[in-house]
């Protein structure tokens, strides 16, 4: 195999890995959209908030320390040496559940019958609010997140691929980040758990009932409000997983919330209502933008990753307006 061919394979592999990361964020969107018809723009900020909270617990920061110092002139920062990973993750999950409950109680409950677009705007407001409160609670500086997931290039894979090249060519092996491989594994695990949960538990069945038809679900005695809290909690946990993966990769800071924007084309490509759609959409977007950048990028000045995903999604939408796996849109007058 020629180095060019191997390089292309490397780009595709890395694209698949990046796609998995996008899917992780898109998954949270799909869960909430299915259960409540809300297009939750705040999903990316939820990932940021979860990651910030996790780092805060790990390192033992005092919430709102900056604000308190500012008002009272005190000098507090940390309450102790921090805690171990598992405890911190559990506490963060707890925080996300409380957050889900608060969102339902304070916001969603009051706007439940509004048009979808109003609900969407409300989640944009929520995103701004969380962005502000996350930074106020834990500080806006760049934080490193390490929960013990290995990262860096895989030497074994580099050695293996080095032998693939045909005679007479110089080739240094493929680079694959171990973190990405782990992320792919965790994503598979997450989807499996979510599928099992929604297929085989009573709550899961209730979730699917609500997704099918709100009113029918209400008439058979499913509490819509508790379902919403559950769905937002699950989305919060998915956000935490996405936050951990993205945070370990590139640090925890404001730009983490922008991954929500990257998840949007994944969503419209796969369809808002389909979990497999989110995964496959993520993979298509990931591979597509990496290949485009690899082949066309140098010709047009690079940085095409900023917009290619959206244009690709737009192109697909021209042929299938409901996304690849979305439910057929039936409109009635």
């Amino acid at each position: 195999m020629t180095p060019d061919f191997l390089n292309t394979i490397e780009v595709i592999l890395n694209g698949l890995m990046a796609g998995v990361m996008y899917s992780l964020v898109a998954l949270g969107f799909v869960l909430i959209f299915k259960a409540s018809g809300i297009f939750n723009y705040a999903q990316g900020v939820m990932a940021l908030f979860a990651a910030l909270t996790l780092v805060g617990f790990q390192t033992g920061q005092i919430p709102f320390a900056h604000l308190v110092n500012e008002i009272f002139g005190t000098q507090i920062h940390h309450w102790g040496p921090g805690m171990n990973n598992l405890l911190a993750i559990l506490l963060t999950i707890l925080v996300m559940i409380v957050f889900a409950w608060l969102v339902e109680k304070l916001v969603l409950q009051h706007i439940v019958n509004q048009e979808p677009i109003i609900l969407f705007m409300a989640t944009i407001g929520l995103a701004f609010f969380m962005e502000g409160i996350g930074d106020l609670m834990w500080g806006a500086d760049l934080k490193t997140l390490d929960v013990g997931i290995p990262s860096g290039g895989s030497f074994w894979w580099e050695d293996v691929t080095r032998t693939w090249v045909s005679e007479g060519h110089e080739y240094y092996g493929m680079y694959i980040d171990l973190l990405d491989v782990w992320a792919a594994g965790i994503a598979v695990l997450l989807v499996t758990v979510l599928t099992l949960f929604s297929q085989y538990t009573k709550t899961g069945r209730a979730l699917r009932a609500v997704a099918d038809d709100h009113q029918a679900a209400l008439t058979v005695g499913i509490s819509l409000r508790s379902i919403w809290v559950i769905v937002w909690s699950i989305a919060g946990i998915v956000a935490l997983v996405a936050g951990i993966m993205w945070g370990s990769k590139s640090g925890v800071q404001f730009s983490l919330s922008l991954i929500a924007l990257k998840a949007l084309p994944v969503l419209i490509l796969g369809g808002f209502t389909s979990i497999p759609g989110a995964i496959i959409g993520g993979l298509i977007i990931g591979v597509g933008e990496k290949l485009f950048e690899f082949w066309i990028g140098p010709l047009v000045g690079g940085a095409t990753e900023n917009w290619f995903a959206y244009v690709l999604a737009l192109f697909f939408l021209m042929f299938r307006p409901q996304g690849l796996f979305g439910e057929r849109i039936i409109e009635r007058v």
Binding site: L67, V107, I124, G125, A127, E131, G132, L267, I268, V311
Partner: protein, 358 residues
């Protein structure tokens, strides 16, 4: 008691069709416009020009533009920042290529160019609806900003990649550039805002506006009763982009003077304008003004109180402002989903009956 339609008799069709049918409205609007044109230019100073009046005027124009598309025609767009960039770069290219061209014409031409681009990016709306369209408009936002960053022709091959507004005179008085007096830039923007706000007000109550609203309320039903979706949607996209392009051109030429596309026309600007029309009121020209003023001035006010008044550090205040803005958006959507303009409508209803309760 005084503010009502009854008793305000009209004896001709012309009178019946005027923009403001109520006498008090006409008087009020005339007084405001007269005040803005005749009094403010004598009072204005540099601070008021740069930090309050110019940005509010320009954002109002952008908000009217987006309101035409989103509020009246129901097509959610997240590409406002990109279209403003088109207006800014078009005005830059026009004014540097034809230095003698009158600045009014430059700005109008930039609006025209943006309208063309708007039609192009509006084409998907014929097939895609709702959230799918909102995400699709993000393509225009990111693609256009990327384009202005990467193609040197747009910024005349300048080394910094920035564009700078050259000094241009109208009737011997500088309107752009560092030497422009505050009253000149203010009046320049004011002319555009007043003229195009009245045009928009008229458009939205005419045939165009009604076809937009029909499409917004239910596009299939509108199609059945004979509203052409192609014409309605694309006209909304082009007219909305025209307004946003003019706002972008003014934003660059008069207000900022030098811009770098990623920073000046990023996605946050798209959201800002969207918030303005939500808070102000979807489908209301008055609401566009209220929303723009509110969304721009509220953070300035909070910042002034906390940073200058209480001496807090600016970055903490910046986060607080984010929280407050987000909280307010949710609050408004819960309490008054139709925006601040709805409060005025409610007041109007009350005034009609006053002093009787029913």
């Amino acid at each position: 008691m005084f503010y009502r339609e009854s008793g305000d008799f009209k004896t001709s069709y012309i009178q019946d069709q005027q923009i403001f049918p109520i006498l008090q409205d006409r008087v009020f609007v005339t007084v405001i416009i007269a005040f803005a044109f005749l009094v403010v230019p004598f009072l204005i100073n540099d601070y008021w020009e740069k930090s309050v009046l110019l940005p509010v005027l320009i954002w109002s124009l952008a908000a009217i533009g987006l309101n035409i598309l989103t509020g009246y025609c129901g097509q959610v767009s997240l590409g406002t920042g990109g279209f403003m960039a088109v207006g800014a770069y078009a005005s830059y290219k026009f004014t540097t290529a034809f230095p003698e061209l009158n600045l009014f014409i430059v700005v109008l031409l930039s609006g025209g160019v943006t309208a063309m681009v708007g039609i192009l990016f509006g084409l998907p709306s014929l097939r895609i609806k709702g959230f799918y369209l909102a995400v699709a408009t993000l393509a225009s936002q990111f693609f256009l900003v990327w384009l202005f960053n990467k193609v040197p022709w747009f910024y005349n091959y300048s080394a910094s990649g920035q564009i700078n507004a050259p000094e241009r005179l109208i009737a011997g008085i500088a309107v752009t550039g560092p030497n422009a007096p505050p009253w000149a830039t203010y009046l320049f923007c004011l002319v555009f805002v007043v003229v195009f706000a009245l045009v928009a007000k008229n458009l939205t109550r005419g045939r165009f506006g009604r076809s937009w609203m029909a499409i917004r309320d239910m596009d299939i039903a509108a199609e059945i009763i004979g509203v052409a979706p192609l014409k309605a949607k694309l006209s909304a996209f082009s007219i909305s982009s025209f307004y946003i392009g003019i706002a972008g051109a003014l934003f660059f030429l008069v207000y900022l003077g030098a811009v770098e596309p990623t920073e000046a026309f990023g996605i946050d600007k798209s959201f800002l304008v969207l918030f303005m029309i939500i808070i102000g009121g979807l489908g209301s020209i008055l609401g566009s003004f209220i929303g723009a003023a509110f969304m721009f001035l509220m953070p300035v006010l909070i910042k002034n109180i906390l940073v200058n008044g209480l001496g807090w550090s600016p970055d903490i205040v910046a986060h607080l402002i984010l929280m407050i803005v987000g909280g307010l958006i949710m609050f408004f959507l819960i309490v008054e989903p139709h925006g601040l303009a709805q409060l005025w409508r409610v007041t109007k209803e009350k005034l009609r009956l006053w002093p009787f309760p029913h």
